[in-house]
């Protein structure tokens, strides 16, 4: 993997610092959730985004509220990256009335349509059609908005991906296929369930492809830049495969129910090192290039942590949903 410094050019320090802070926000939210779930602090299971922050953030950094994202069961990071409210996300995961979905969606369904967040999705590749539909709408609106589908390496085996690529290519839709290849589909290594390279699947459809180190925020930013510009300029869809790693389990707590391990702990540790972890890499860069001192970073860490703590407090103190809310929001009768 290339080091970050070779890449920094059209990305200002300001940009990178903003990206770093967002990544940290995701990390700290997820760390909290990973801890809190052990004590049963909230009702559902969580799939954490730790280790993959350098994918959602640099891409979403280039988007605004009229752009759309559609995501996965591992969706907290995408939600935050796209500007979703951390408090409302936390409250949602805590199942509270103040949650972004009133406590009805939970971790796998955090969404905020006003911010262009179509939402996380509990069905693998389930967000694909939603994103294509939004891309079609943007195309028809002619407003230069783009639509992003985040999906995993596992999701890349769902046939709907091929259908989506075909139609987006045919109709020249402003769509970005953002495959986050974290090497595992639940507990199975990608190589065991995936024939060939995922990114090559874009080729027969003539969709430009960008393969990037998904733990390198700058690398992702650059690829995303190409893809977003293509979309904005009505040049059609793009496909990015970002190689990354899931530092946590598929779902928290998995070893309480799995009968055996499925990956080497050394492998996991490797991806947490300064060389691999996307946040540590950014911090090293900042320090090496005197953009930040150690103290600066500590200060930012604390600021972010405070914000997360506030969000958690907000979630905890929020009231439970009123039971009457269970019966509304299906079709109107």
């Amino acid at each position: 993997m290339m080091s970050i410094k070779n890449y920094v050019n059209n990305l200002s320090d300001e940009d990178l610092k903003r990206i770093y802070k967002k990544m940290l926000m995701i990390r700290k939210c997820e760390e909290h959730l990973g801890e809190a779930t052990k004590n049963g602090a909230f009702p559902g299971a969580v799939h954490l985004y730790i280790g993959q922050e350098a994918i959602a953030v640099p891409l979403c950094d280039q988007l605004n509220d009229s752009d759309w994202i559609s995501s996965t069961h591992r969706g907290h990071g995408h939600f935050i990256a796209k500007g979703g409210d951390v408090k409302k996300m936390m409250a949602e995961i805590y199942g509270k009335s103040t949650g972004i979905c009133g406590g009805k969606g939970g971790s796998m369904h955090v969404a905020d349509f006003k911010k262009g967040i179509i939402g996380a999705n509990g069905v693998v590749a389930g967000g694909m059609g939603l994103a294509v539909g939004a891309a079609l709408a943007s195309k028809m609106d002619g407003n230069g908005a783009v639509s992003i589908i985040f999906f995993g390496d596992g999701a890349a085996n769902q046939g709907v991906l091929m259908e989506a690529m075909n139609i987006c290519s045919l109709w020249n839709l402003p769509m970005i296929f953002m495959c986050e290849n974290n090497q595992y589909s639940e507990f199975t290594h990608t190589s065991e369930v995936t024939s060939g390279k995922i990114i090559d699947r874009a080729e027969p459809f003539g969709i430009p492809k960008y393969e990037v180190d998904g733990n390198n925020a700058v690398d992702v930013w650059q690829a995303a830049y190409q893809a977003v510009q293509r979309g904005r300029n009505d040049e059609g869809p793009s496909f990015i495969e970002a190689h990354t790693y899931r530092q946590r389990g598929h779902v928290e707590f998995e070893y309480t129910f799995l009968s055996r391990t499925y990956r080497d702990q050394n492998e996991v540790e490797l991806w947490k090192t300064n060389e691999k972890d996307p946040i540590l890499r950014l911090e090293s860069y900042f320090i090496e290039h005197n953009k930040y001192s150690g103290d600066d970073i500590e200060k930012i860490q604390k600021e972010v942590q405070d914000e997360v703590d506030d969000a958690v407090k907000f979630a905890i103190e929020s009231p439970e949903p009123d039971i009457s809310s269970a019966m509304v929001h299906m079709i109107e009768r």
Binding site: W68, S70, I100, C101, G102, G103, K104, G105, H109, A111, D112, F113, K114, I118, G119, N121, G122, V123, G126, M128, G129, L130, A131, V132, G133, A134, A135, L136, A137, S138, M140, D141, S147, G159, V160, E163, A164, N166, I167, L170, W171, S325, V328, H329, M330, I331, E332, R333
Partner: protein
């Protein structure tokens, strides 16, 4: 008023609604040329942007309707035949029917899914299903089934204007030409049935293609001195419970005629509603005239054996009345 057949009436509704609201878009396989006639001429009138030919890919088709609706459009997703609803069922069941609820009402999803359903044309098992029971159970989509060209037009216009996903399912045959009001705001409200014949002895509740048969049965029964309250249900979700219960109060007897397979059919559910909420008015068993639990066979002899016809309805009612 002018006499129209089913497909032209549907076409007219589409033309009118696409003209009225440029957020209405339509897509489907061969939507331009139109296999069955619903969409004929739309592409010429509204352009290839708003009327799109899609590849064959029902999975993405059903899903992208939801996304386009969430992003401000009013898509009509044309799925040709009811059996292909199954092909695109994932996004229907997991997305269209749930997204609004899961997000606590953040979005409106004005989608119309359109398909032709049912048998009677020797199209065999994979082109003759009545898929609405599966759709009804989702709870998150409306379902309407017109019975003739007038109700086809009025319901389609309401479906397009509705802010919820609506399945608009029409019988293959389409029946004979009917008078259709010329008024381009002629709407039939979703959730309302129509009482198309009045009588005191028995209530028939009929759905879609079965309404014409029920009407013919009604005439035969009238000739025998049996008075029929005939309700053309029109909407399956939501169901017009008031009208059917009121009719039952009057007649005390009910037969439900449904082209769906029997298990978990619309007929079963209507029966369940009545024996729960109108039990005290029931003078005799609630009868269902449905397709028994088989796929639709190709041979016309076999096909007409399994699909309810006028005689099945008449016989059922005669037996019912003899019981008492």
């Amino acid at each position: 008023m002018s006499k129209q057949r089913m497909m032209p009436a549907i076409n007219l509704a589409l033309q009118e609604e696409m003209k009225r609201d440029n957020k209405v878009i339509l897509y489907g396989e061969d939507a331009g040329i139109s296999l069955l006639g619903q969409t004929t001429g739309l592409q010429e009138n509204f352009g290839k942007d708003r009327v799109r030919d899609t590849p064959i890919c029902e999975n993405i088709m059903t899903g992208m309707a939801v996304g386009a609706a969430a992003a401000g459009y009013r898509p009509i997703c044309h799925l040709l035949y009811g059996n292909f609803i199954y092909t695109g069922f994932d996004s229907i069941a997991n997305q269209a029917a749930k997204l609004k609820y899961m997000t606590a009402g953040q979005v409106k999803l004005p989608v119309v899914y359109m398909a032709v359903i049912g048998g009677g044309r020797s199209a065999a098992a994979q082109h003759s299903d009545i898929p609405y029971p599966a759709l009804m159970n989702l709870g998150g989509v409306k379902v309407v089934v017109p019975s003739n060209s007038r109700t086809a037009k009025g319901l389609l216009k309401s479906a397009i204007r509705d802010d919820n996903p609506v399945f608009y399912l029409t019988a293959a045959g389409g029946g004979r030409p009917e008078e259709v009001p010329d008024d381009d705001n002629y709407l039939i409200p979703i959730g309302k049935s129509e009482v198309i014949n009045q009588g005191n002895d028995v209530t028939i509740i009929s759905i879609g293609s079965m309404t014409l048969k029920a009407l013919q049965a009604t005439k035969k029964l009238n000739d025998k001195g049996i008075g029929v309250d005939l309700i053309d249900l029109l909407s399956l979700v939501p169901i017009d419970e008031d009208t059917i219960i009121n009719s039952l109060k009057k007649t005390g007897r009910v037969v439900i005629v449904d082209e769906a397979r029997d298990i978990c059919s619309a007929a079963s559910h209507i029966s369940a509603i009545l024996s729960d909420k109108a039990f005290k008015y029931l003078k005799s068993p609630i009868k269902r005239v449905t397709v028994k639990d088989v796929a639709i066979p190709y041979s016309p002899i076999l096909e007409s054996h399994v699909i309810p016809d006028v005689a099945d309805i008449v016989n059922c009612i005669e037996e019912l009345l003899e019981l008492n």
